[in-house]
Amino acid sequence: MERSSLPPAGSTENDHRHPGAKHRPPGDVRYGKGLRALSISTVGVMALALGLVFFYAPLEAEQGFLQKIFYVHVPLAIVALCGFVAGGLMAIQHLRTRDPRWDMRSYVAIHMSLIFAVGTLITGSIWAKGSWGHWWVWSEPTLVSFLIVFLLYATYQPLRFAIEDPERQARYASVFAITAGAFVPLNFIAVRLSSEYLHPRVLGSTSNLPAPMALTFLVSLLAMALLYTTLCKYELTAKHTRAQLRALRRQLAGEGADAQARRPRSAAPTALRQAATTMTARAVGRSGA
């Protein structure tokens, strides 16, 4: 019996076990769609932002040139935070629909946000050194909160890696992502409250900005958001392509190839083939019954 890992294009029948995934398209979801347009616009906006930062935004009175790192640091922070929360929301979708693609998206969102969080910490540290002479200051609640959030999300991948069953790995990771996503805002509030009477907040303060600075900031924020989205899309596309490649290889190797069971454990979801296998099993079941 001819078996295809990718269900035929016409088959849009949904597995009734996935109630939320009503119009799930056949396995080859086109993640790569629109990638080029997105990349070009990202590069464009980033170039614009850089131009504004260096040539348009005025020098700040107190801190001079160093203050310009604000245009990198704060957007990094905001995008990272939103990314963590988005990862939590995607995890909620994953638990609701049990569609492994949501888990993949959640994983990529958190993964990328973690990188941006590291960027936030580094740029914050540079600014602290420049402004106060220390590589780390406890008086900046944003920086402190980020450190805690970073330490929490740094356990995400070890957690995933420590669970072998891929389905359970995805489920536990989603529980973590939701908990951590709820934690982020609460943590910020708690840390803010605890250091209110120390230094006035300089780093994160975005109100009372003169117009040119506000404009530069907004463009930088947009650039950072686009960069994040593009990178996420790249990673999703790459993972998806690799999954398709593996599916094709399995097809070539023939059925009963338990070779894939010897694949090394991974922390990253390799979600796609579950959808493919599920639909294939049903197709075979229907035609074989």
Binding site: A261, R263, T278, A281, R282, R286
Partner: protein
């Protein structure tokens, strides 16, 4: 009336198919024996029927309820006896059974009844870690039948039991219990003797599915080749 109705049941583990395309039907009071080498999916099948695992594809109906949506409705009517006794080593036989009885809403007198039935009243107040494997298995049998389940799922139930004990538990989990049973077994002749329907699994797929009277022990041995 069908106690079990499976259509195209499938479950995967990552990229590997643990079970695929299992379809069968089992009437009330009948016994299904599942054969197959290790890793063939016998335990997976039993755990799905016990509502411990969700099916990933296909239709599963146990005692008239469809899984996994209505799993909660059948849980109290299924008894599972597997490799693990599912008992706490630090507690006594009586405490363990009482615990399970309360979780199932079953009364104390039933605990006594079963302790007597498996001949464990003498040592019912000693922690399980002081008892032999065979005794623990007997208490496990009591646990599995405490709530008088309509469906019994037995994963190699005779492991760790001596012949006297096997005879002892027969009215509870054996043919004489008159319950619907699904048994996973490695013993071709013995297993065949008590089966009404035989299912042979190989690498998760049904290689053999027939009424027991039509099956020859050699065919079962074939599965292991």
């Amino acid at each position: 009336m069908a106690a079990l109705q499976l259509e195209g049941l499938a479950r995967h583990y990552g990229e590997r198919a643990a079970l695929s395309d299992v379809s069968l039907s089992l009437d009330v009071g009948k016994t299904l024996v599942v054969f197959g080498p290790n890793g063939a999916g016998k335990t997976t099948l039993l755990r799905i029927l016990a509502t411990l695992l969700r099916p990933h594809a296909g239709n599963v109906s146990v005692l008239g309820k469809s899984l996994p949506e209505e799993g909660w409705a059948v849980r109290g009517r299924i008894g599972l006896l597997g490799h693990e006794p599912l008992l706490y080593r630090e507690l006594t036989a009586r405490e363990n059974l009482r615990f399970h009885a309360r979780l199932h809403g079953v009364g104390e007198e039933r605990v006594q009844e079963l302790l007597q039935a498996v001949a464990m009243t003498g040592r019912m107040n000693e922690p399980l870690r002081t008892l032999s494997r065979g005794m623990v298995q007997r208490v496990a049998v009591a646990r599995a039948t405490l709530h008088d389940p309509q469906l019994l799922l037995l994963d190699e139930p005779r492991a760790n039991l001596d012949p006297a004990a096997i005879e002892l538990i027969d009215p509870l989990v054996g043919a004489a219990s008159e319950r619907t049973r699904v048994i996973s077994s490695h013993d071709p002749t013995g297993g065949l003797a008590e089966a009404d329907v035989v299912l042979g699994l190989r690498a998760g797929r049904p290689a053999l599915l027939r009424a027991a009277c039509d099956v020859d022990p050699t065919e079962i041995a074939e599965l292991y080749r």
